[in-house]
């Protein structure tokens, strides 16, 4: 996959002249800023508020426990009440936030795992590209190669269609026909071809086999 961005650049602390860059920078940095503020709250129990106006004159704000609460405290000097009810509400909120943090961590870990798997797959692809001409980009192939590939692929497609038909009409053990839908986590990728992750999401492509199974 080609590089989509320039990567980490050393930045001088002056206004970014290019309007588009400025907007992109704002978007990213604002998100990062709120993330840092959120982490500060979680890790240290700090209460804070951040207000940022965008180049487009919209206003973004973050507050913990809330922007209003912080404003109130700041402007009036009132320390938040410590009544029993209040404490209970706070406790509930803490629990909820804690659970959200756990969930976020979980999803981020899954994302990282999938990204790694993606890199592994890329590596494998690159390696086999060196050995098999038909894995090279179509643009690099000559006519004869293309013709050969075409025939092979058509033959393969027939095989696939036949096999699918076979499976469709298997009535002896229906549970073998239907793909499993229960698992969420993908098992580790088996780099040999006979390991197929059958639980990951399909394209939803209907190959003319019928409407039912995807």
């Amino acid at each position: 996959m080609p590089r989509t961005s320039k990567g980490r650049q050393k930045l001088s602390m002056v206004k970014i002249e290019n309007e588009s860059n400025r907007q992109v920078t704002f978007s990213k940095r604002r998100a990062g800023l709120f993330k840092k503020a959120s982490e500060l709250s979680t890790l240290c129990g700090a209460e804070s508020a951040i207000i940022v106006f965008s180049p487009g004159k919209k206003v973004f704000s973050y507050g913990h426990p809330s922007v209003e609460a912080i404003f109130d405290r700041y402007l009036t000097g009132n320390i938040p009440p410590t009544s029993g009810t209040f404490q209970l509400i706070e406790a509930h909120r803490h629990v909820r936030v804690h659970e959200l943090n756990l969930k976020l961590t979980q999803v981020l870990n899954q994302l990282e795992a999938e990204k790694k798997q993606g890199e592994e797959l890329d590596k494998i692809r690159r390696a086999s590209q060196n050995q098999c001409w038909w894995e090279q980009p179509i643009d690099t192939l000559d006519r004869t190669q293309l013709e050969l590939m075409k025939v092979s692929l058509e033959e393969l497609r027939n095989k696939v269609a036949n096999q699918a038909e076979k499976l469709l009409f298997q009535t002896s053990n229906p549970s073998q026909i239907l793909p499993s839908t229960s698992t969420i986590k993908a098992p580790p990728f088996d780099s040999k071809y006979n390991g197929f992750n059958t639980n990951t999401k399909p394209y939803g492509y209907n190959h003319g086999f019928g409407s039912g199974f995807c």
Partner: protein, 252 residues
């Protein structure tokens, strides 16, 4: 600066928490300042420490006042549209991460299915037994995609958009019906153009026969040396179409 992954939970160790707070607060202020400068926008931050009743602010007491009053001047809806607290902010982040996860999984799946397709091309007799309907469906889709690409490229070649195309005459490897042995490019183009329907059955059959022969390495085609046909049990996809057999720069 350590790069250990920090667990997103309240730091129970008092001194560690205090140290973390101090560092991160400083970093946060710096980030607000940078954002404000780089993007030429107004911003402010108010941070209450658990250790101090007085908050720390950026840019200054006056600066905060200014920004807060600007904020209050905005219509209520504008104020709340992009307002978040920890709860909503975390939910947003989770939603975004889930989106990315879904996309990454889809991409990975596509890569895998493509792999299966390429490997099936190579060793010919790869069993499709272990694939379920979903796999077969995806595989079929990917094959169709590839075929579409190939058709398009072939079309380009036919329309002479591509210099690589016409090398049809007298190939050793592919026997063609006599009619296409003609030297005229035009004629060859016509042949190719009508490939699917016209008198190519023989040619196609010959080619297919050739392919099938290729997939049965017991039959030596005599095209090349003995080292080219790998034993059938070899599961590596380069078994049959290795470089020795299909030199990339053919001379016809």
């Amino acid at each position: 600066m350590t790069r250990k992954k920090v667990k997103l939970a309240y730091i129970t160790n008092d001194s560690a928490r205090k140290a973390t707070f101090k560092k991160r607060k400083k970093g946060l202020m710096k980030k607000v300042s940078e954002l404000s400068t780089l993007c030429d926008v107004k911003a402010c931050a108010i941070i209450y420490s658990p250790y101090d009743s007085q908050p720390e602010v950026w840019p200054s007491t006056f600066g905060v006042q200014e920004v807060v009053s600007l904020f209050n001047q905005m219509p209520e809806m504008e104020q709340s549209k992009k307002m978040v607290n920890q709860d909503s902010f975390l939910r947003q982040r989770i939603a975004k991460a889930n989106e990315q996860l879904k996309k990454q999984r889809k991409d990975n799946r596509e890569k895998e299915v493509n792999q299966v397709m390429f490997q099936s091309l190579g060793a010919g007799k790869i069993s499709l037994q272990h694939l379920n309907l979903m796999d077969l469906n995806d595989l079929g889709w990917v094959i169709d995609q590839k075929l579409e690409e190939i058709h398009k490229k072939l079309d380009d070649i036919l329309n002479n958009k591509d210099k690589k195309g016409i090398k049809t005459n007298n190939s050793q490897a592919i026997t063609r019906p006599s009619s296409s042995a003609s030297a005229s490019v035009e004629h060859a183009q016509q042949q190719i153009g009508q490939m699917p329907s016209f008198d190519v059955n023989m040619e196609k059959m010959q080619r297919q026969q050739w392919f099938i022969d290729m997939m049965n390495p017991e039959e030596h085609m005599g095209f090349g040396g003995d080292d080219m046909m790998m034993p059938f049990g070899d599961n590596h996809h380069n078994a049959l179409w290795s470089n020795g057999f299909f030199p990339l720069n053919w001379n016809f």
